[in-house]
Symmetry: C2
Subunit: 343 residues, 2 copies
DNA sequence: CTGAAAGCGCTTACAG
DNA sequence: CTGAAAGCGCTTACAG
C-alpha cells in the first residue's frame, strides 16, 4: 500500500505521454485530445496521484491557505474560546469547497508577536491571505498591513479601528441600540451597564451607541467597566445596587458577568426579573441553564467566520474588498427581563 | 515599502556572491568564509529576505506543518470546544520554537470525511505529520494510518483503540480510580455514575475502571448513560434518586451533567454535599461558579497538546514513537463532596 | 572557500 | 494535438 509519493512523471510514463500532456489533462486545460485526457485521468486516479502541494505552490504562487494568528491569554483561555472556535468553523466551511486550509498559529505574546508572524508569512509567502482578529487601537498589525497594501488581509474588527483596510466590522452599535430599545419598550428609564474593559475597542463602540440611544429615548444609563469575570460582575452589580438610585435593568457585556450579576442581585433579595431586568450581551448555553434563563444578544458566530472566508476568497481572486458589516445581532428574550417595576 | 518578494538571487546579486554561497551562509552550513557569511547575513537582513516557503518545502521535502482535522458537530459546538481549543494552544506552543505551523481543517462529515482529508494530505505531501483526535472504534482513520506506516501520525485516544499506532493515551483509567478512592475515603459505599454515551471509547474505559476499583474496595456502583447535556443530567439524576436504594454520591462524566444533577437534587430537597456528594469529571469555570462549588477531576489540557506536539516533532525527526500516557488527572476538592451521610 | 549545475514536482509558453 | 524546454526559489553534491 504505502507507495512512495507518485509524481506527474510516473503518471506520464504509465500512460505513455509527456509530462506536459499529463499536466494539461489533469488541469482540464486544452492541449490534449479527449482520448488522451481520459486515459491520463484514469491512470492518475488508479495510481492515487495528487499534485504535490509544495511544487504546485512554487509553480503557480498560490499556497491555498489563509493564515490566522490567535492571541491566547494564559489566564482567560475561556473568554474568547468559543467565539474563536465557532469563527474558525465558519471560516473553514467557506474555505473548504475551494480546498483552502487554515494555517494556524497561536501566541501569548500579544499583538506584537502576532505581527511578527504575519511579517514572516508575508516575506515567505506562506499563505495567500491573512485573517486578523482581536485588533486594538494602535495595534502594530494595522501599520503592517497599511504598509503592505499588496498583501491580502482581512480584519474582523470595529469599523472605526481599521479604516481603509478590508474589514468585516461588527454590529456592536446596532446591538447596543437594540437592547436599549427593548428595555425602553418594557418601560425601563433608568438602567445601568456592566461593561467590559475600556481597552477593548468594542467596549467603546458599545459605550457610545448605548449612550446615544439612551439620550434619544430620554433614558438614564450608568456604565461601570470591568473584566469579563464573575467576580467583577458581582462586585460591579453590588456597587450599582447599593449606591445612588437603583436602576430597573442592567445590561451586562458578557454572559459570565450577567449570571454573576443575577447572583449578586439574589444575594440582596432582589428578584429578577420582577425587581430588576438583566440582559447578557453574549448568548451561550449558560444563559439557557441559568435560573431564570437570561435574555441575551445572540450572534451567529459561524456566519461571521463564513462571511470572512468568502471575503478572503474574493480578495484572493483579485477582487477589491472594503468594509462590510457582519450579520446582525438578534435579541433573544428569555426570563431575565420584564416590565420595569418602578417602586 | 511593499517590495516584491525578494529571493536568494537578489541577495546574491546585492552581496556579489553566488546563489549557493548565499544558501550556505544563510543556513549556517560550511562552504563560505566567515567574512562572506557575515556580509550575506547582513544584506539578507537589510533586504528583509525570508526563504520562500513553497520553494524550501519542495527542495527539502518538509512543509514545516502538522495537520489537524477537527470534527465539528453542528449541534454541540460546545462540548469539545474548550478541550480542542486548549489542546491546539498546547500544540502550538510545542511547535512554535521549531517554526512549525498547524494546518487546520474542520469537517461536519465525521470520521469518514476527516479520513479523506488525511488521505489527500498524504498524497499531496501537504503536512509533515498528522494529529488525530476523537477516534472511535472502527474508525476508518485507524485503517488508513495502519496502511501508511511511513506516514507520521499521532493519535490522542484511548490505549485500547489505537494499539500499534503512535498514541498519546488518556488517563481515564487512573482518573476513575482516583475518584472512587476519594469517595471511599469519605465513607461512601454506595455510589452512582451519570456517564457519557456508550459510543465513546473513553466512556467504556471509565466504566471498566470504575467498576473494577469499586469491586476492589467493596463498593456498589450503578451506572446510567446519557448525552453530555443538562437535560440528560437532570433526568438521569432523577432516576437515580427516585428508584431503589439512594446512593450517597454521584460521579458525573462532565461538568454540565454534574451541575444539572445538583439542580435535580436541590429540586427534591436533597442537599449537596450533606445528603449527596457530586463529582464532575471535567473541570471548568462553571464548576467554580456553581453553588456549591463542584469537586472535579481536572486535567491540564494544554499540557496534553504540548506533549502531543513534542511527540510529533520527535516523529518528524525520525524517532520511533509508541504509546505514551498523558499527564495525570488531579482531583480538585471543592464543596460538592463530603463525608457519606448514611441515614 | 567558491561558482556552475542539477534537481525537487509542477506549470506554461514555445516550437513541431 | 503533442513533446522538449525553461522556470518557480531553494538546496546540495560536484568540480574548480
Amino acid at each position: 500500500m504505502p507507495k512512495a509519493a507518485i509524481t506527474i512523471s510516473d503518471v506520464a510514463k504509465a500512460s505513455g505521454v509527456s509530462k506536459s500532456a499529463v499536466s494539461y489533462a489533469l488541469n482540464g486545460k486544452p492541449g490534449v485530445s479527449d482520448e488522451t485526457r481520459a486515459k491520463v485521468l484514469a491512470v492518475a486516479r488508479d495510481m492515487g496521484w495528487k499534485p504535490n502541494s509544495a511544487a504546485k505552490s512554487l509553480s503557480d504562487a498560490r499556497t491555498r491557505s489563509v493564515g490566522v494568528v490567535l492571541l491566547v491569554d494564559d489566564a482567560d483561555s475561556f473568554g474568547a474560546g468559543m467565539f474563536t472556535m465557532d469563527c474558525l468553523a465558519g471560516l473553514s466551511k467557506a474555505l473548504d469547497p475551494r480546498e483552502y486550509s487554515i494555517v494556524l498559529r497561536m501566541t501569548a505574546g500579544g499583538a506584537a508577536a502576532a505581527c511578527h508572524i504575519h511579517e514572516d508569512w508575508i516575506a515567505s509567502g506562506k499563505v495567500d491571505a491573512h485573517l486578523i482578529l482581536g485588533v486594538e487601537l494602535g495595534d502594530p498589525r494595522l501599520t503592517l498591513f497599511r504598509n503592505h497594501p499588496e498583501t491580502k488581509a482581512l480584519f474582523i474588527s470595529q469599523r472605526a479601528v481599521t479604516s481603509g483596510l478590508p474589514t468585516l466590522y461588527s454590529a456592536d452599535d446596532e446591538g447596543a441600540r437594540m437592547v436599549v430599545r427593548h428595555l425602553h419598550e418594557l418601560g425601563h428609564r433608568d438602567i445601568a451597564r456592566i461593561a467590559g474593559p475600556e481597552e477593548y475597542v468594542h467596549t467603546l463602540a458599545r459605550d457610545n451607541a448605548t449612550a446615544d440611544e439612551c439620550a434619544k429615548l430620554g433614558m438614564h444609563c450608568t456604565t461601570l467597566h470591568g473584566r469579563y469575570m464573575a467576580e467583577d460582575g458581582e462586585r460591579l452589580c453590588g456597587s450599582i445596587l447599593e449606591f445612588g438610585q437603583r436602576p430597573t435593568a442592567i445590561i451586562c457585556d458578557t454572559d459570565v458577568t450577567a449570571i454573576a450579576a443575577m447572583r449578586a442581585a439574589a444575594a440582596r433579595g432582589i428578584s429578577v426579573p420582577d425587581d430588576l431586568s438583566i440582559v447578557a450581551w453574549d448568548d451561550s448555553p449558560s444563559c439557557l441553564s441559568a435560573t431564570p434563563t437570561v435574555t441575551a444578544l445572540h450572534r451567529d458566530v459561524k456566519a461571521i467566520g463564513r462571511t470572512a472566508g468568502d471575503m478572503l476568497l474574493r480578495m484572493i481572486d483579485g477582487e477589491t474588498v472594503g468594509a462590510e458589516p457582519e450579520p446582525p445581532y438578534r435579541l433573544i428574550e428569555r426570563d431575565s427581563t420584564g416590565p420595569a417595576n418602578v417602586a
